[in-house]
């Protein structure tokens, strides 16, 4: 227990990230099922408007900030140091700090489900209910007087700190901790996409931080940043939110693209086609992601010139994305394709992401978007991109790296059930949403009339959602079963090309007995010029120093929710206690003997 609380080992932190994020993923999934159950019938099945609004807000917020991002972070933590041939990340204690802040921020946000009585509310749940995008001025105190939005903005502030700290850490890790010979253009594509993602994190999160601070001042101190009556403008919130929000979309998808770029070559027995093009298109997507935010705001009425510019930049971003897809198909082309579960999910990712990309082009055209935005058509689009894309990519990563992370292989039979149920379920759930949207069903509505004519489509969507739920049960069973009877993995169950497959599964605490010298992009495969890297010695030739754990990351992290609780309950002294905890934690941390 103590060793887990104080751990600074990137592998343990990776596992902590995984289990925590997967837990939140299941919570977010349950919220989705409540939403789908309510929509299965015109006029609903009795979920109240208030609860429904909390459900879709928490579903979106949870999936983005507590499930997809940290599931990616689980792989960053576990896999990146192994892929680049390092013993740990650059700042192991900062890494632990990121995890604890993420955990506490997530728990704090979800505590709102039970916190009603503490705030004198007449119901148990005071969960955030302003949408994951929290549009001002609806989220101002005048229109949202309860603690709901306070929970939302305070926990997002906390989670932002976790993401930023991890961002600095992984940028330095990837740039600076590479094994000798691993030039930037020999970096595995997953590591590359992680690097781009982290640059987006450290640049996008300050923007949402500012937006949240301004909203916090409005709600707590009576300023008018987003209140027209005092000279403010609610549209500024939208600009700041989407200036963050669009890079955030790429923060969610690029890691999955990186995973797919690892899985496809391994199971085609061919190196990634057009490696440099795939890498540079990822970098380009990262840059271009900054120039498209107003395409979330075509209905605001920014004028035809702004609409044209953002339409053009948005369409342009389809080019590097298309290039990636073609390179993945070319990687498969001429290969020896083995349909393991990981490979099925990776190919499923490509197939589904194409659909999400194409519907994306249709709302890159502002006039068409005026009919599509804020309808189920856009709900379909984001789920093809974030479930069909990111989530299938993450599942590919889970099946691919599970043996590395746990030492045992997940069952392929159950895995295939998991895959096909997920694929069928998601298409049943999300494809009809294109149609219900085009037929005029807005999103974020807790009820609709039978006259709209979208009942059947909604019934199908609901059935699909529950099928996805069933698929998750299969996956959970697979996990439980594998713990007991999973096939031991050995170093390299798949014949992978990258360094993580050169070491035992799970790896020893020091990862590599000796740090290998890297001579190609596929160090474990023979190339025209190089043989595969020689096997590493089974035991370290000299003792390897492994840093001990530290309490201070956990201690410091606790200061943040204390500050948030103080703010929420208007207890200044508690805020000050939180500040004191953070300061003490930082000093003890800085002057603790901790040899890396």
């Amino acid at each position: 227990m103590k060793s887990w609380l104080t751990t600074t080992d990137h592998k343990r932190i990776g596992l902590l990230y995984f289990w925590t994020a997967f837990g939140f993923f299941l919570v977010g999934g349950l919220e989705a099922l409540v939403i789908r159950a309510q929509l299965a019938k015109p006029d609903g099945i009795g979920v109240s408007a208030e609860l429904y609004n909390q459900m879709f807000t928490m579903h979106g917020t949870t999936m983005v900030f507590l499930a997809l991002m940290p599931l990616s972070a689980a792989f960053f933590n576990y896999i990146i140091p192994l892929q680049i041939g390092a013993r740990d990340v650059a700042f192991p204690r900062l890494n632990a700090f990121s995890y604890w802040v993420f955990l506490l921020g997530g728990l704090f946000m979800n505590a709102s489900f039970l916190a009603g009585p503490l705030f004198g509310a007449d119901r148990l749940s005071v969960a955030p209910d302003g949408g994951w995008f929290g549009y001002a001025n609806l989220t101002e105190r005048q229109f949202s007087p309860g603690p709901n939005i306070d929970f939302w903005l305070l926990s997002l502030q906390i989670l932002g700190i976790a993401s930023l700290a991890a961002g600095f850490n992984f940028i330095v890790t990837i740039l600076n901790m590479r094994a000798p010979g691993m030039k930037m253009l020999r970096l595995p594509p997953f590591s590359w996409m992680t690097l781009v993602t982290q640059f987006l994190v450290i640049t996008a999160f300050p923007v949402i931080t500012v937006a949240l601070v301004l909203l916090m001042f409005d709600r707590f101190f009576g300023t008018h940043f987003f209140i027209p009556a005092g000279g403010g403008d609610p549209i500024l919130w939208q600009h700041l939110f989407w200036l963050f929000g669009h890079p955030e979309v790429y923060i969610l998808i690029l890691p999955a693209m990186g995973i797919v770029s690892e899985v496809l070559p391994t199971f085609s027995r061919k190196p990634l086609f057009g490696y440099t093009v795939v890498v540079y298109s990822g970098v380009l997507i990262g840059f271009m992601g900054w120039g498209v935010w107003s395409h979330h705001m075509f209905s605001v009425g920014l004028g035809p010139i702004a609409d044209s510019v953002f339409s053009a930049t948005t369409m342009l971003i389809a080019v590097p994305t298309g290039v990636k897809i073609f390179n993945w198909i070319a990687t498969l082309w001429g290969g020896q394709i083995r349909f393991t579960t990981a490979m099925l999910f990776a190919v499923g990712f490509i197939a589904m992401f194409i659909i999400g990309g194409l519907s994306g082009v249709s709302h890159a055209a502002p006039p068409a978007d005026l009919q599509q935005t804020d309808t189920y058509y856009v709900v379909a689009h984001i789920h093809y991109v974030l479930f069909g894309g990111t989530m299938l990519g993450l599942f590919a990563g889970m099946y691919y790296w599970w043996p590395k992370m746990t030492g045992r292989q997940l069952s392929e039979t159950l895995g295939k059930w998991h895959f096909w149920l997920t694929l069928i379920g998601m298409n049943l759930a999300f494809f009809p949403m294109h149609l219900s949207g085009l037929l005029g069903m807005p999103r974020r509505i807790y009820t609709y009339g039978a006259e709209l004519g979208v009942t059947q489509l909604n019934v199908i969507s609901t059935a699909g959602a529950f099928l996805i739920g069933l698929a998750m049960l299969v996956f959970l069973w697979n996990i439980v079963r594998t713990r007991r009877v999973g096939t031991p993995a050995g170093n390299d169950p798949w014949g992978g090309a990258t360094l993580e497959w050169a070491i035992p599964s799970p790896p020893p605490v020091y990862n590599f007995t000796v740090i290998p010298h890297v001579e190609s992009r596929v160090p474990l495969w023979p190339t025209e010029r190089h043989g595969p890297t020689a096997p590493l010695p089974p035991t370290p030739p000299a003792p390897i120093h492994v840093p001990g754990g530290s309490w201070w990351p956990l201690f410091t992290a606790f200061g943040l929710p204390l500050m948030a609780i103080g703010a929420l309950s208007h207890q200044v002294w508690l805020v000050l206690v939180g500040v004191a905890v953070v300061i003490v934690g930082i000093y003890r941390w800085a002057y603790e003997p901790f040899e890396v």
Binding site: V172, L175, A204, P206, F221, F225, L240, V596
Partner: protein, 191 residues
């Protein structure tokens, strides 16, 4: 603290992380400054900037902060060449000049409040206090950091071996200084 590891880019990891942090901070201040500019002239009631901003006074504060950057350079140079006596003096001078700046900000804020400009009075008040207040918080962190290093130096625990730590603190200090130059220009000089 920790001995240098071989790094792929030939830059110390802590220094590299700090550069990334500064990049991130640029976006933070960029967003705040943009907000200030967007809400410029949107105040529905006074006091308005031209009625209240005291350019000569703030020019002195700006000069003070610039001089502190100079002192920081001298402190780092002294510590790098092992002259801890000079190093201690200049570290203290840097922190002291930072404190003077903060004192000036406290005086300015209370003076404005006295003249009727509160946080919620108008858009100028809100954007001004949030922007300069965020900067002031950064200066405060910097002063605490510098004083910590100074105390370490007094206790003989800071020497040329820790020059990198001082260099990183210096990076932060110069960054905060540069941000102030931008704020001074945007808020005070271009009205």
């Amino acid at each position: 603290m920790s001995h240098a590891h071989p790094t792929s880019m030939g830059v110390d990891s802590r220094k590299m992380a700090f550069w990334a942090f500064i990049g991130s901070e640029c976006l933070l201040f960029g967003s705040l400054i943009s907000t200030y500019l967007i809400y410029k002239g949107k105040s529905l009631v006074g006091p308005y900037p031209h009625e209240i901003l005291n350019i000569p006074f703030t020019s002195f504060s700006t000069f003070d902060l610039l001089m502190s950057s100079l002192a920081m350079v001298l402190a780092l140079a002294a510590i790098q060449r092992g002259d801890m006596k000079q190093g201690k003096i200049w570290l203290f001078v840097t922190a002291f000049l930072g404190l003077v700046f903060l004192g000036g900000q406290v005086w300015e804020f209370s003076h404005f409040a006295h003249q009727g400009l509160g946080l919620t009075t108008n858009m100028f008040g809100s954007t001004f206090y949030v922007l300069t207040g965020t900067h002031g918080a950064h200066v405060t962190v910097g002063v605490i950091w510098l004083l910590t290093l100074w105390v370490q130096a007094l206790r003989g625990k800071l020497g040329p071996g820790q020059a990198l730590t001082v260099e990183i603190a210096g990076l932060y200090w110069h960054f905060v200084d540069v941000v102030w130059i931008v704020i001074f220009t945007v808020v005070y000089l271009i009205q």
